[in-house]
Symmetry: C2
Subunit: 492 residues, 2 copies
């Protein structure tokens, strides 16, 4: 397979697919809409998971694990949630295969092993979890219940794209239960903040925190909060959501608690999740035509060291120096890899690690050692510098921090340059078809208008930003009064 | 719910179920045969996973993730594997639900959304993985391919038990590809050693390494290696397996590589796995009638500190001292919890942490501080001692190590006392019905004899121990010549 990527200018969508496949993040599979997450992609996901998991635990959450399957009768209990997901459910109907009597060596579904009740493969776990919570919650002493689950879920999407939209994906889903509405809303916002912090500080990806309109709300939620990011092609991407579920699931599953005044009350709920979709976001936020650009805080390999051998006499000198540097770096917690493979040329290796997004590359030859220097290349700007070998480790730590900051600032500048006000439909369309990005415009607050604008422009309201400035105006479609601008964009 | 357990003598199976439920490891779910892993159980699994994951990575493996679903045509490609799992497969046949026209608010499977090809929910992933490997392996340079996956799998078991046998369970499955048979066999044995080390050094559970007979072999394997543990009721439990798969999957999925001599050869394979079943093993290996006994190396909480308040004047003195001890312990990496909840009595707390298996409990009151002492109770022996507060942290570290060693030795002694030779069928039956445990006996090496013994005694051959001593003898059932004793037991 050629390692050359389609460029972003040529075909952004093709560039993305090429990059995912060629950098070794993922591969297609034999199952429609499902992908294989390859070792490089999975290592990235593990780093993301570990950071998020610590943030969840630091905010008082515990992990648990609930069944993959949801019996249909539970699935349909919360009507809006069921209605929202019914069209994309994989359904298990049988529990056995048998030998095909007409076709040696083949199997058929055994018609005698039909389930009495069909099982839905979880598209999200509110139903199975709230059915369980019913047994766990009796009194205010059992609240708040703060649980998270790392799991796979399945949504039978018609059009899929690697990481961004796959039939099966990996995610975490938090499901919390509270005694009061206020407490549940605080939790919803707290977890949105956790997501925003993670996106900005670890993924180096600026996000806008906001609230979804009714059209874009999670099925079964009272309010959906979201973080929205901007990709390099000017399309928005929903990177995480946190839902205030009110008492909808408590009522559907009859989950009540005895409050301090000995009164039975329904429990208040939240749920929140991010998924392997974040990997797609990360790729599209930073990468270039040479390959991935990964933020140092999440990169599976932060530094690669490539010895440059010229003749056998200096080989052990170089190897010793490399070993020495690696030891020092590992002691400082740097994820460093040595690539001393003789069977490939250095130039090939340089391109390979650029493709894989390794933030820092160090090349070290005999001449470098003689001069007490190393050639250091940073992936984000492709700048090469010669750094003194003394204190190399400390300099690399600073460089990694600088790369993290730089790619965040670059993405932030791009994002900020791509929030454009529009005061008419013509302006909205011109921006969407031109520079793209977020468009800040007045909207009359109705679902009908939003739907109509979507039909006309393929743009949706990504969110109503939190702490939005109130500004009297008129809806760009209907001319009706509006109290604030909202953010439109075409989105992934 | 009462916290009192059925005792092991009264009813061992009921004791086990009570313990799992009341200690908060797991709960039943609304899905037949599936369980909910509760926070305490999941924290234990996370600790087990993290240790194993590091051991896998230290032996050169990388993690990846493959689809949950296996198209039926791939599933049936390796015939023996397919035959072995066909009877316990959950099968997805449809991808959509729709509103029931005859029943408002209810959903039915949409008959128009029938899949062209049914999807099997993975009972194990050889098929989907080897179908993928076909695209990843061309040359000897691509080998060995050393990949592990952490995932959920589904096997539709008719009789289920919490952790030990559930329809869905969590596990890891390693799948490796090699250029030579020898290398694959070395890998198979290496991973068996990893499992044995993990079981003995972390779970404090002695195991016997061995090879399975043909009857007990993994469907599709040439050889299945296993570790077998002994539970306190004298029943054996298979705790992990490592399979040499020969070229069976390479042939079924046509995975060939170009060797150094430019010749096309089929690839050699292994697979190996352990699951949440290990939690069941851990519980049954060590626990007692008061609750769980967890090995310190895996316990989610290693030390619990319970302040004993008597009057308000010494409260802050006690709190300061507790905070000080906790800080010191956390700095040393001890997983410590403070339980200063005023609303429950100390006696209740003591029982609760015994039930949850916390290895060390420290109670600290004003009088203790005055005497510069703390009351320390160890869970394994229930001994209480008064330890000086100076260097308490170091003493606790030693105590945790001592507990780890003690529960291993206790289990080892029990295991070793329960390997009994038998030279006749009558002896075999008498042992199985009496002291139980492993029975070492001669067997003629045929599947028929093994099957017949199983029918007569409900015991199976757990394994032929690795490095078994050869000893001429006669089969206890048929009287035919035998070259070695094998280990029989009734098993979970």
């Amino acid at each position: 397979m050629s390692k050359t990527l389609t460029t972003r200018n040529e075909d952004y969508a093709q560039w993305y697919n090429d990059l995912i496949l060629k950098s070794g993040l993922a591969d297609y599979s034999a199952v429609r809409g499902c992908m294989v997450i390859k070792p490089h992609g999975y290592a990235l996901w593990e780093n993301m998971r570990d950071v998020l998991d610590k943030m969840f635990k630091d905010t008082g959450h515990q992990n648990a694990y609930f069944p993959l399957f949801v019996p249909k009768s539970l699935f349909e209990a919360e009507e809006k949630n069921a209605e929202g997901f019914a069209k994309e459910c994989a359904v298990v109907t049988h529990y056995r295969l048998k030998t095909d009597p007409n076709n040696k060596g083949k199997l058929i579904v055994d018609p005698e092993a039909k389930l009495e009740e069909e099982l839905v493969v979880r598209p999200t776990s509110e139903a199975i979890i709230w059915n369980t919570y019913k047994g766990w919650i009796q009194s205010y002493r059992d609240l708040p219940l703060l649980i998270n689950q790392w799991a796979n879920v399945v949504r039978w999407e018609m059009r899929t794209r690697l990481f961004l939209r796959t039939a099966e994906f990996l995610w975490q889903e938090g499901h919390t239960a509270h005694a009061t509405k206020e407490e549940a809303i605080i939790e919803t916002k707290k977890m949105l903040d956790v997501y925003a912090t993670f996106a900005e500080e670890y993924m180096a990806m600026p996000v806008i925190k906001g609230v979804k309109t009714a059209n874009e709300r999670f099925a079964g939620a009272e309010d959906t909060y979201c973080i929205e990011a901007l990709m390099q092609d000017g399309k928005a991407l929903q990177a995480g959501t946190s839902h205030f579920l009110g008492q909808n699931f408590a009522k559907a599953f009859d989950v009540k608690f005895m409050d301090k005044a000995n009164k039975q009350e329904y429990v208040w709920a939240t749920s929140w999740g991010v998924s392997t979709r974040l990997i797609g976001a990360l790729v599209m936020a930073h990468s270039d035509d040479s390959g991935l650009i990964l933020p140092p805080k999440l990169a599976p390999i932060q530094v690669v060291i490539i010895p440059i051998y010229k003749g056998d006499d200096t080989r052990s000198l170089i190897n010793d120096k490399c070993a020495n540097i690696i030891q020092q770096m590992q002691a400082k917690g740097i994820r460093v890899k040595l690539d001393a493979d003789d069977s490939t040329r250095s130039g090939w290796k340089f391109a390979e690690y650029e493709l894989k997004g390794v933030p820092v590359r160090i090349a070290l030859g005999a001449r470098d050692i003689e001069n007490n220097k190393a050639e250091v290349a940073r992936r984000d700007t492709k700048e090469k510098t010669s750094l003194p070998l003394d204190n190399l480790c400390e300099q690399i730590i600073d460089l990694l921090a600088d790369i993290q900051t730089n790619i965040y600032n670059r993405a932030l500048q791009f994002r900020d340059e791509h929030i454009t006000p529009a005061n008419t439909m013509d302006e909205l369309i011109a921006i969407l078809d031109g520079k793209a990005g977020f468009v800040s415009a007045h909207w009359d607050g109705t679902s009908e208008t939003e739907e109509k604008i979507k039909e006309l422009t393929k743009a949706t309201i990504r969110c109503i930003p939190i702490n939005n400035v109130e500004e009297a105006g008129t809806c760009i479609l209907t001319g009706k009064p509006s109290i604030q601008r909202v953010l439109f964009a075409r989105a992934y």
